[in-house]
């Protein structure tokens, strides 16, 4: 059976819920959110640490509290949230095939907002050699294990190695310790860790070269910065960070991906190449904080309402690409209005000079104070993109130290 709604949001994480709340409140009609997990809220549900903003009285929210509030706000605004329901593919433009315990459906919408989030690359995608034992996790699987079974060592392991050196790795180490698991070492390819890892030795400039053990992990071989290989005895290894957008539906619709982010290319207002289809949140580029993703969801609402109001889909605009030591930039397309850019460096850059140029001609060139780091994005205000020639060639964002 085919049902029609005004807006279909795929994914009830911070971005999807924020978009749904804003749209429902603005009178967008029937706004339906599909969530394939059994509960709505997205990744914050698994993150029991502060860093998710504050409530009305100024008290810091942890992830689960933030997720509950986001769900509440979307429901209160009048959106429908359906959990345990999977969008499995496209039956046509703006029509999704859905599998639910109640049966199969086709849902047609005037606007589809993709908010499917991101995942960490598992060991295999990182091409880490060795055996295939149990005890090899990502941060996400570790957190879901704790959510499912409680912080219980017998459900995780006794001795763990954490791979990564950024705040996500620190989160994994804390989650392990809270469950009573010894963190034997943190292995990072960074020349120095991004954050402090209290109590665990940090091996810098190091890489895991092999997983050992049959049945259960017995250790990981690590090549250190000095080129020497040592074996760390452990029964658990957590691969952290290294995000890739969960872009399955976007690709299934043939939406072009940005090479740097592997997320669908959008303009400033989160419009993709397909009329009526929007993309928001961490689907666009891997992980940003929940508050950033939610802000994007809200920001997309204006353009979604325009779409519902019958405004024609604008021409695609001018492509924007990252160059030099920059890994990615979003949005991937610039239209007539100046847009802020989100930029992520490949490596640490101290007081870099950033250039936005079109067809080799600099539009703006400015030295940034402070240091850019590969685990945090920097936002460049709209003034950086004013003066783009819509008839011109691609815009490149570059940096030098």
């Amino acid at each position: 059976m085919t049902r029609t709604v005004d807006v279909l949001v795929v994914g009830a994480g911070p971005a999807g819920l924020a978009a749904a709340a804003r749209l429902a409140a603005a009178g967008a009609g029937r706004v339906e959110v599909l969530e394939r997990e059994a509960a709505a809220g997205g990744v914050p549900r698994h993150c029991s640490r502060p860093g998710f903003g504050a409530d009305a009285r100024g008290r810091a929210l942890d992830g689960p509290a933030y997720a509950r509030r986001a769900v509440r706000e979307a429901l209160r605004a009048g959106a429908t949230i359906r959990t345990g329901v999977s969008a499995t593919g496209w039956a046509g433009p703006l029509t999704l095939d859905v599998t639910a315990p109640t049966g199969l459906e086709r849902v047609r919408a005037d606007a589809v907002v993709l908010a499917t989030g991101a995942r960490e690359r598992p060991r295999s995608a990182r091409l880490v050699p060795g055996t295939r034992p149990a005890g090899v996790l990502t941060t996400g699987e570790l957190q879901r294990t704790v959510l499912r079974f409680g912080p219980r060592r017998e459900r995780i392991g006794r001795r763990a190695v954490v791979v990564g050196g950024d705040p996500v790795a620190r989160g994994a180490a804390r989650t392990l310790r809270a469950a009573g698991v010894d963190v034997v070492a943190v292995v990072t390819g960074l020349p120095s860790p991004a954050v402090a890892f209290a109590g665990a030795p940090v091996l810098v400039g190091a890489v895991v070269t092999e997983l050992l053990g049959r049945g259960r992990l017995t250790g990981v071989a690590v090549r250190g910065g000095d080129g020497r290989t040592t074996v760390l005895r452990c029964d658990t290894v957590v691969f952290t960070g290294d995000w890739i957008p969960d872009h399955e539906l976007a690709r299934a619709r043939g939406l072009p991906l940005a090479p740097g982010t592997r997320g669908p290319v959008t303009d400033r207002d989160f419009r993709t190449a397909e009329p009526g289809v929007f993309a928001v949140g961490n689907l666009l580029r891997g992980v940003e904080p929940a508050l950033v993703a939610a802000a994007e969801g809200r920001a997309a609402a204006g353009a979604v309402l325009e779409r519902l109001g019958g405004r024609p889909w604008p021409a695609p605009g001018v492509p924007v690409t990252a160059a030099g030591p920059l890994r990615w930039v979003t949005p991937g397309l610039l239209g007539p209005e100046a847009a802020p850019l989100l930029v992520r460096p490949e490596r640490r850059l101290s007081r870099p000079v950033l250039t936005v140029a079109q067809d080799g001609v600099p539009l703006r060139r400015e030295r940034l104070g402070g240091t850019l780091v590969p685990w945090r994005s920097v936002r460049l205000g709209p003034r950086w993109t004013s003066g783009v020639d819509l008839a011109g060639g691609p815009v490149a964002v570059d940096a030098e130290e």
Binding site: T88, T102, P122
Partner: protein, 478 residues
């Protein structure tokens, strides 16, 4: 009929068999299934905690025609027969097979010159439908192929198959037809005797009139237990990369290398699960447990794969694994009857064992008769219809009728592979339930997708734990 995994083996008459088949890989399971047609007491004994846990689970998953076998060998005959038998059985049992056909792609003049000889060899093996393709036609058939392909030999009939379902179907049908399957049951000693041989296993003693060695990589070691030293198995490691389902549209056929003086090369092949496989390496090793991948192996595969199908390297890697083939230094199987010992060795079943399995089983039945087995009248086997793991066939998450009957089939647990809670529960309650999460993956695909359990790992473990607790409860109640 029973499946045991733990505890002492049955004693007394219950531990007396007409035939014990040692090794529950694809070959041993096929032999047990063939024997199960007859009114015999049969046991299938396996050292690991699941069927198909060795070479049978980690191979290239191709149903070969045998076009390139050495003409006149036993292998050539059994592969040809096995291809036909397994093709028919797969339809009946619900094993996913996709008859994509193969293209042997020539990348240099020497390889192109070899194609007519390969066509001739195929003809001597009874395959008359091969065809030479010029570069233009090849490019039209495989538009994503890398630059420099000079032509190809087309081999219709080559197919991709699910190796996990195949072994499991044989073993399931064997058990349902009366075979006892004893897992976690390594045979440590054999005391030949009459009328019964005694097998001392980790879980107790079994007695059997006739004995079949289907130990794969360990067939030489098992021969030694019986006092035979006819050959040595040298494990040949094959590392493989499995690419994301987004790579599936890049390739339409099984792309085989042209064998040459510099080695066999690697293949690029779709899988029935909708992925693309690249490999295998071929490394002769001493260690029969060395199923790890190596940095050099994976880098080498990527380099070769990038030449064959450049766009492949832009896609994510879903899985990396390695399997060991049982090479014996001879270009044929090592299947031998030892009538004095009432013993049949089924050794040296190299990379073609999956394809040939049903034909090997029929052949072994004949050898057992030579060893004195009177199988008695044949009767139909208990029917078996396996859950479908193939993308080319309907999957439960798209089956409205099934979901209406049981909403659990409308609840997707493993999102990457679209595996429902209904399928996981069914596998956990099946004739041969999985012994662990990897066994569950081979029965359902759960945790086998691009996220490798990032999203569903905890939930799948919870479902497995529930089933294990129920099983413990039942055992305690008994």
């Amino acid at each position: 009929m029973s499946v045991t995994r733990t505890g002492p083996l049955p004693a007394g008459e219950a531990a007396e068999y007409d035939v014990v088949v040692v090794g529950a890989g694809v070959v041993g399971s096929a032999i047990a299934r063939a024997l199960a047609r007859h009114p015999l007491r049969i046991a299938l004994v396996e050292a690991a905690d699941d069927v198909g846990d060795g070479t049978s689970k980690a191979n290239t998953a191709i149903l070969h025609t045998g076009f390139d076998a050495v003409p006149g060998t036993l292998e050539a005959r059994l592969v040809r027969e096995g291809h036909r038998l397994l093709g028919a059985y797969a339809r009946e049992a619900g094993i996913p097979v996709e008859p994509l056909g193969a293209l042997l792609v020539a990348w240099d003049e020497q390889q192109r010159a070899a194609l007519p000889r390969l066509a001739e060899k195929a003809e001597r093996n009874g395959h008359r439908t091969t065809r030479l393709l010029a570069a233009e036609e090849l490019a039209a058939r495989e538009p994503h192929l890398g630059r420099g392909a000079l032509g190809a030999l087309e081999v219709p009939g080559e197919a991709v198959i699910c190796p996990w379902t195949t072994t499991l179907a044989y073993a399931t049908q064997a058990v349902r037809s009366g075979v006892d399957l004893h897992l976690n049951c390594r045979v440590e000693k054999v005391r030949p005797g009459g009328p019964y041989h005694r097998l001392v296993t980790r879980r107790g003693v079994l007695r059997t009139r006739l004995l079949v060695n289907a130990c794969g990589l360990h067939a030489d070691a098992f021969d030694a237990l019986v006092g035979r030293e006819d050959f040595t198995v040298t494990p040949r490691r094959g590392q493989l990369l499995v690419f994301d389902k987004f790579a599936r549209d890049l390739v339409r056929h099984i792309l085989l290398p042209v064998p040459g003086p510099l080695g066999k090369g690697v293949l690029v092949s779709p899988t029935v699960y909708g992925n693309v496989m690249l490999g295998p390496t071929a490394e002769d090793l001493d260690d029969k447990t060395a199923t790890g991948t190596t940095a050099e192996g994976l880098a080498g595969l990527r380099e070769q794969g990038g030449r064959i199908l450049p766009a492949l390297l832009d896609e994510e890697v879903t899985a990396v694994y390695a399997g060991l083939r049982a090479a014996t230094g001879q270009e044929d199987y090592r299947i031998a009857a030892h009538p004095g010992l009432r013993y049949v060795t089924v050794g040296g079943i190299r990379s073609t064992g999956l394809t040939a399995s049903l034909a090997i089983a029929e052949h072994v039945l004949g050898l057992l008769a030579d060893c004195g087995l009177d199988p008695g009248p044949a009767r139909p086997l208990a029917p078996v219809r396996m859950p479908n793991l193939g993308e080319a066939f309907p999957r439960p998450y798209r089956d409205a009728g099934l979901i209406a009957r049981d909403p659990e089939f409308g609840t997707i647990v493993c999102h990457c592979e679209r595996v429902t809670r209904g399928e996981i529960r069914a596998a956990l309650a099946s004739t041969i339930p999985p012994g662990g999460l990897d066994g569950l993956r081979r029965r359902t695909r759960a945790r086998g997708g691009r996220c490798q359990g990032h999203h569903c790992g905890a939930e799948v473990r919870a479902l497995f734990g529930e089933a294990a607790r129920e099983e413990d409860g039942k055992r305690a109640a008994r």
